[in-house]
């Protein structure tokens, strides 16, 4: 290894200090505020029916959003990277739209689409289906904001990897299904996991869109992020930070998992090529 030059050290030190102040201190504050009166706060929170209802809704909405967006992401990633068709760039932009729109505006769009006063919403309401200001609306909003992540990562990796392995698999007589599961998925496995992690983080933490469609009915349409805001605005600071700390720990887990996935992504070049080549011959 070469000798470290002084400007290198200075740059590293500056970067470390910036990250520590900008990201480290706020994170440390959450834990400090949550734990200031001991860990008993968690036991108290977990006996609170409103807290439990919020936790349940958050988990259910996130699971549904991740499942839907993963399935859709596989489909969209496949379509975008393997077929050429008219309007493809427009379709790709449409998938990424939720990234550049304010969640509040996305939520408003849902409200205007399926709210009781909208034509579609009114019709659904007449048939006993309520979306806005009810739990299905929370799920819809969560799906919308977390929509692009899996599709993006999956499409990008398939694009970059090319099509040769799939072609050889198909030429050797494998069915399309075999090719997808034994060749395409192994190639894209880590990118797919990365996309799912991003999607999960976004789903669990969504606030802006969810708060528009929720109507803030405690115990029914309140997710954990909404509950944190409500507790904080109600001056129940410790409970707010304790709830926040649970989500922060989840975020730390996601960031840590992503760093493991990154390690695999860097190695995937040799690895996945080999695996896919084996897959192609096995599938055949």
């Amino acid at each position: 290894m070469t000798r470290r030059r002084p400007h290198e050290l200075a740059l590293i030190a500056t970067a470390v200090v910036i990250v520590a102040v900008l990201i480290g201190l706020p994170l440390a504050t959450i834990l400090a505020e949550a734990w200031q009166s001991g860990l008993g706060i968690y036991a108290r929170l977990l006996r609170d029916p409103l807290e439990l209802a919020a936790l349940r809704l958050t988990i259910v909405a996130a699971l549904l959003a991740v499942a839907f967006n993963t399935l859709f992401g596989l489909l969209a990633g496949w379509t975008l990277s393997r077929y050429r068709f008219w309007g493809k760039p427009a379709l790709a932009s449409a998938i990424e739209l939720p990234l550049s729109i304010s969640p509040v505006i996305s939520g408003l769009g849902i409200l205007l689409l399926v709210g009781a006063r909208a034509p579609l919403g009114g019709w659904l309401e007449a048939h006993g289906i309520r979306i806005a200001f009810a739990q299905p609306g929370i799920v819809f909003a969560t799906i919308l904001v977390a929509f692009p992540y899996v599709a993006r990562e999956f499409a990008a990796v398939l694009e970059q990897r090319g099509i040769e392995h799939e072609e050889s698999s198909l030429t050797l007589g494998a069915t399309a299904g075999q090719t997808f599961f034994r060749v395409t998925l192994p190639i894209a496995r880590w990118a797919l996991i990365d996309g799912i992690l991003l999607c999960a983080a976004r789903s669990v933490g969504e606030f802006g869109a969810v708060s528009v469609v929720s109507g803030n009915i405690q115990g029914i349409t309140e997710t954990l992020p909404l509950r944190i805001a409500a507790l904080y605005n109600d001056y129940q600071t410790t409970a707010a930070f304790a709830t926040a700390s649970m989500l922060a720990l989840f975020a730390i887990a996601v960031s840590w998992a992503r760093s493991l996935v990154r390690g695999h992504l860097e190695r995937r070049d040799e690895d996945a090529e080999q695996r896919a080549a084996i897959g192609a011959s096995v599938a055949a």
Partner: protein, 259 residues
């Protein structure tokens, strides 16, 4: 099938917003979007997002460079920390930032001694947006820096270029498309950001109130037409801005090819 999914989940809600315009007469529309309170919110939202994206571009470059090019103890940890502003739910970041930068907080208590108040000021809005935007710049630049052969800088310094020369004449021209893309993503995220800003901003109408909050307030007052008018203007404005940045980026890429 793909098209069907996108239409249901993304395009229909957006169409509903634009369709919501039909019910609004032009005079009411103009009155809503040109009211002093709304104009102040626009100024704050665009101004703070722009400043924050510029700050993110600078420190994001530094962080991306250091994490890609240098081996040091804790590099992987530092790199993992960059995901946190994205992974932490926005209201969690919001209450944390409001606490840290309040005059009694860890950072706020130091800056307030020098007369710099961050929480509940426009500066606080910018600080929250710097926090939320940083992963976009870093994660967009990192692959571009990885793809850059170190020989490029070596050649520049062997040929007598100073560190600054190498940076301005060699690195910036090659990295500018990725850099601009990251800047645009941070900027776009800032324009729409809600959860991490509202707690630190103080939300004083006309002073520290951002556009997404004005939309929210109008919704709480059941003023759907007002909220729709604001949302449409905001969509149009961010669309034009991002398009401009994209065109600029394409222009720079094509110029590079020409050189």
């Amino acid at each position: 099938m793909t098209l069907f999914g996108v239409t249901i989940v993304v395009l229909l809600p957006i169409a509903a917003i634009v369709g919501g315009l039909r019910g609004i007469d032009p005079a009411t529309f103009a009155q809503t979007i040109l009211s002093p309170r709304v104009l102040a919110a626009y100024r704050l939202t665009f101004g703070a997002s722009l400043i924050a994206a510029i700050v993110d571009a600078v420190i994001g470059f530094l962080i991306a460079w250091v994490t890609v090019r240098y081996q040091f103890f804790g590099r992987a940890f530092l790199n993992a920390c960059i995901d946190l502003p994205f992974a932490i739910p926005t209201p969690v970041s919001g209450i944390a930032l409001a606490t840290v930068y309040a005059n009694s907080g860890w950072i706020g208590s130091i800056t307030s001694r020098f007369g710099i108040h961050i929480a509940f000021t426009q500066l606080g809005v910018a600080v929250a947006l710097v926090f939320i935007g940083i992963p976009f710049v870093v994660r967009t630049l990192q692959p571009a820096i990885e793809a850059l052969p170190p020989e490029l800088e070596e050649a520049s310094s062997v040929l007598g270029g100073s560190g600054l020369d190498t940076f301005v004449r060699v690195l910036v021209p090659v990295l500018i498309p990725a850099w601009l893309a990251g800047f645009a993503m941070a900027f776009a995220r800032g324009l729409g950001e809600y959860g991490s800003v509202i707690f630190i901003a103080g939300n004083k109408p006309g002073v520290t109130e951002i556009v997404p909050l004005v939309i929210m307030t109008k919704l709480e007052e059941y003023d759907f037409t007002g909220a729709t008018a604001l949302a449409v203007t905001m969509l149009a404005a961010s669309f034009v801005l991002l398009l401009a940045i994209n065109v600029l980026r394409r222009h720079m890429v094509s110029r590079q090819v020409a050189v």
